[in-house]
Symmetry: C2
Subunit: 457 residues, 2 copies
C-alpha cells in the first residue's frame, strides 16, 4: 500500500486537473441540446478507464445516454466489487446565482465549485483514481472490479434496470459499492447502511356524476373532497402512528445500539428547523427526528386535487377528489404487501356514498445491510485509514432504486460510502466538492480495495 | 277582475307572439359579441313597458349591460311592489344538442323551446302582461309597481347592488317580487319562502419553506396536506354535524309544520339518487334530504390543492396546502359571525407545525320570509286563483343575492313566486317553458296584484 499511497500523493495535482476536465463537460442529461456533451462525457469516462488500465471498456448505447462499463478481473480468488456511479449532472438554473460558471471549475477555500463536482463526478473519479493508484504503482489490484457508470441518474435511470437485467453475467459480483451519498458532517466519514423503500398510490374518489351547485345540493350529498380528507386523516392517529392494520408487522425495530449511535451524531435540530422555516417538527411519538426519517415507515400525502382551485370563489360541490399518497417503508416491509394492506384499509374506510379507485404507481423495497457485513467492515477500515477516525453509520430516508435492483437482480448487498457533504448544493447553484474529501476519498477507497481483498464475501 | 281576465284570455295569442319576439333576441350577457343584441333586448323590454302603460321607463347604462326601469304609481295609498327579473340569458353551447335553434322559439307539446324561455324572459313577461291586462282593461292597477329588470344576472349581477344602493329612493317599495325560481313540480304552484346564506373562505396552510423530498424529510416534518385534511375533517363529526362551537346557536329550527309540509311534497328520492349517479345519499343525521338542503346549514369543501397533482408520481412533501370551503347558512345565522367562529375554530385546531391563513372571499345572509306575511299570503291567493289549488311552500338551498340586497339596502321582504319547472333545462340545451304555466302565471300575478291591494304591507 505504500507505493499506492505515494502514487496518490505524487499525482494529486494531475488528478485534480483531470477532475476539472471531467467537470468542464456539461453533461446535463435532461437537456436535449446537451446530448452531444453527454455522449462526449461518456467517452471521457471510457478514456479514463482505459488510461488507468481497466479492460473491456465499452460504451453501451441505450434509448437515452450510454452506460460506460470497464473491468479488471485479475485478482484470482478474490472478491469482485461492482462500482456504480453516474457521469450525468443536474441542470444549472438559475444561472445568475452561480458565483462562477457551472462548467468552469473554480477552486475557492479548498472547495472545487462546478455542477457535478459532488454529485457525482468527483466521487466517480475517487474510485477511478484509487484503481489507477493500485494498477500504476503495483501492476495489479487486490480485488476484482467492475465499473458501471451511467448517464441517466438525474433523469430517472430508465435504461439502467433493463441493462442490469440483460447483463446479469457481465455484472456478477460479490458486493456493490456506491459513492453517491453524503457524509453526515465535515470530517465524519460515513457509511449509509439503510435506505427506505416506497409504495406510491393514487386515490380517486367519485361522488355525483358531475360537479354540483353547493347551494342546491350541499348537505344532502356526500362531498368527495370531504370524504377524501377524512379517509386520509384516518390513515394516521394523533400520535403519528399509521393505522393501517398490519402496517408495522414486518418492521425491523431499531436496536438500542442504533438509537444510541443516532443520538450521538452531531445533529442540530434547531438549525434543521430554522433551515426549513418551521416553528415545530412533528412525527411519530417516541422517536427522534433522525429515527423518524431513517428508520420508521411513514404515510404521506404527496398531492391533493378537487373541485375549484382557481382565484376567487366557486360554490361547487366537487364530483371527484384525488390524492397522491406514498408510504416510505423500512426493512423488512414488502411494498406489495403494504400496498395491499393500504388498499384494503382504504376500501374499509370508504363509505358507500362515493366510489373508490386505488392506482398503484410504483414502489421499491427498503434495504438494510448489517453493519457487521464484511464488505461494510472493509469499507469502514478503509475510511479509518483515509480519515484517521472510524466512520459513523447512518441511514437515509430516501430510496436509491439501483440498490434494490442490485439486491433483487444480482442478489448482492450494496455498500454506500459517500464523500459529499450535506451542504454542498447538489442540485442547486454553486455546487461544490471539498478537495480534502476528494483526496481522503481516494486514499480511503484505495485502502478499502485492499481491505476487501482480505475478507470473504 | 273579470275585465282583466277576459283581456288576458282575448290577447293570449298576441302575448305568445310577443314572448317569441322577446326570445328571438340572443341576449347572451357573457358573450362580448352579443353586446349589441343585449342592448337591443333592453330596448325591447323598455318598449314593452311603455306599450303597456308604465311610466318613467328608462334604460340605466352600467359598466356592462343596461338596467331597465319602469313604474306605475297611480294607486294612491296602496302598497308598492318592486318586481325584479332579468332579460339576459345563458350561453347556448353545446349547440348541436338543441332540437331547434335556441333563438328560434318553437312550440312542441305545449312547451315553448328557446334559450331564456323559463330563465327568465317568460317569467318577466308574465308580470308585464299582468300589468297590461289591468291597465288596458281598467285603466289602472290596484297596486303601485316598480319594475327592475337587469341584463347581467347570468354574469353575476355586478352592477346591480351599486345601482340599488344609488337608487334607494327610486326603488322604495313595500315588498319585492321575484319570479325566477321553479315550481316544485308540474301543476304545483309554489312559493319559495327561504334561501340559504353563504360564507366562503380560503384556507392556506404553509409548512416548510419549500416542497421537500418525502424520502429525506417524510416522518419528521408535518405535512400541510395531511394537516389540512385533518383540519377539514374535524370541522364535522361522524353524524354530519358541524363542530364549530356556536355554529348552530342562531339557527331557526324547523317547525313541525314545516317538516310535515316538506314530507308531504312529491319528492322521489330514488330518482334524485339515480340522476346524480349515487349509491347513497348522506347528510346530517336526523333530517330528511329536503330538510338538509333547504333548512340546515352546511360545511362544504369546494376545492383542494396541494403538492403534486399531475400524471404519475412525484415524491414530494408539499410546502403548502389550500382549501376552498363554504358554509351555507340558514336564518338567523349571520355570515360575519359564522366566518369569525369558523376562523377561530380553524386557529384552535391548527397545530404549530404549520402556519394558517384564512381569507374570507364573500358571503350573503340567509333569508326567511314568514309564510304568514301578508305579501306572501296575497301571492298565495293569486296562485290559488290562477292554478285552482293552493301553493306549496318550499325553501331553496342556494342563495339569490338580490334578495339579501333588497332586505339589507331597501329593508323589504321578497316574495319568490316562480313558474319554471325543475326539468325545463335552464342553463342547458333545449330550455323550455310550459305554456300552461305562462298562461296561469299571468292570471295568478294579475290576481296577486289585486290581492296585494287589499292588504297592508
Amino acid at each position: 500500500m505504500d507505493k499506492v499511497l505515494s502514487h496518490i500523493e505524487k499525482h494529486h495535482d494531475r488528478h485534480l486537473e483531470e477532475l476539472k476536465e471531467f467537470l468542464r463537460i456539461p453533461s446535463i442529461s435532461t437537456d436535449r441540446e446537451r446530448k452531444g456533451d453527454v455522449a462526449r462525457c461518456a467517452e471521457w469516462v471510457a478514456a479514463q478507464m482505459r488510461g488507468i488500465g481497466l479492460e473491456h471498456v465499452e460504451l453501451h448505447p441505450t434509448s437515452g445516454h450510454p452506460i460506460v462499463y470497464g473491468e479488471w478481473l485479475g485478482a484470482k480468488g478474490k472478491p469482485t466489487l461492482l462500482i456504480y456511479g453516474h457521469y450525468d449532472v443536474q441542470p444549472v438554473d438559475p444561472l445568475n446565482l452561480w458565483q462562477s460558471g457551472p462548467f468552469e471549475p473554480t477552486i475557492r477555500d479548498g472547495q472545487i465549485y462546478a455542477r457535478g463536482s459532488a454529485d457525482d463526478k468527483g466521487q466517480v473519479l475517487i474510485h477511478l483514481k484509487a484503481v489507477e493508484a493500485h494498477l500504476k504503482a503495483t501492476g495489479s489490484l487486490p480485488v476484482n472490479v467492475k465499473f458501471l457508470i451511467e448517464g441517466e441518474e438525474e433523469v430517472g435511470s430508465e435504461d439502467l434496470d433493463p441493462f442490469i437485467e440483460r447483463h446479469r453475467d457481465l455484472l456478477r459480483a460479490d458486493a456493490a459499492v456506491v459513492s453517491d451519498t453524503s457524509m453526515f458532517d465535515r470530517d465524519l466519514p460515513t457509511i449509509t447502511y439503510g435506505l427506505r423503500g416506497l409504495v406510491y398510490c393514487q386515490i380517486d374518489l367519485e361522488g355525483p356524476n358531475t360537479d354540483l351547485h353547493s347551494g342546491s345540493f350541499g348537505g344532502a350529498v356526500a362531498n368527495p373532497a370531504a370524504v377524501l380528507s377524512r379517509l386520509l386523516t384516518q390513515m394516521k392517529d394523533e400520535r403519528g402512528k399509521v393505522t393501517i392494520p398490519g402496517f408495522y408487522d414486518d418492521v425491523v425495530p431499531l436496536s438500542d445500539e442504533e438509537r444510541r449511535a443516532f443520538a450521538a451524531l452531531p445533529f442540530d435540530e434547531e438549525r434543521y428547523k430554522r433551515e426549513l422555516g418551521l416553528q415545530a417538527l412533528a412525527g411519530e411519538e417516541g422517536y427522534s427526528t433522525l429515527e423518524r426519517v431513517w428508520a420508521r415507515p411513514t404515510f404521506e400525502v404527496n398531492g391533493l386535487l378537487s373541485g375549484f382551485t382557481g382565484e376567487g370563489a366557486k360554490t361547487v360541490l366537487p364530483g371527484r377528489a384525488m390524492a397522491k399518497v406514498s408510504m416510505r417503508l423500512v426493512a423488512n416491509q414488502d411494498p406489495d404487501k403494504i400496498a395491499a394492506l393500504f388498499e384494503k384499509q382504504a376500501r374499509a374506510l370508504c363509505p358507500s356514498t362515493v366510489s373508490l379507485k386505488v392506482t398503484r404507481m410504483h414502489g421499491g423495497k427498503p434495504s438494510l445491510v448489517p453493519v457487521q457485513h464484511p464488505a461494510v467492515q472493509a469499507a469502514a477500515r478503509g475510511l479509518q485509514k483515509g480519515f484517521g477516525r472510524p466512520p459513523v453509520y447512518i441511514r437515509e430516508g430516501g430510496s436509491i432504486p439501483v440498490v434494490a435492483t442490485f439486491s433483487e437482480t444480482l442478489r448482492i448487498p450494496t455498500v454506500l460510502v459517500g464523500f459529499g457533504l450535506p451542504d454542498e448544493n447538489a442540485h442547486a447553484p454553486n455546487e461544490r466538492f471539498d478537495l480534502s474529501n476528494f483526496r481522503r476519498g481516494i486514499v480511503s477507497i484505495a485502502h478499502m480495495y485492499d481491505e476487501v481483498s482480505r475478507v470473504r464475501l
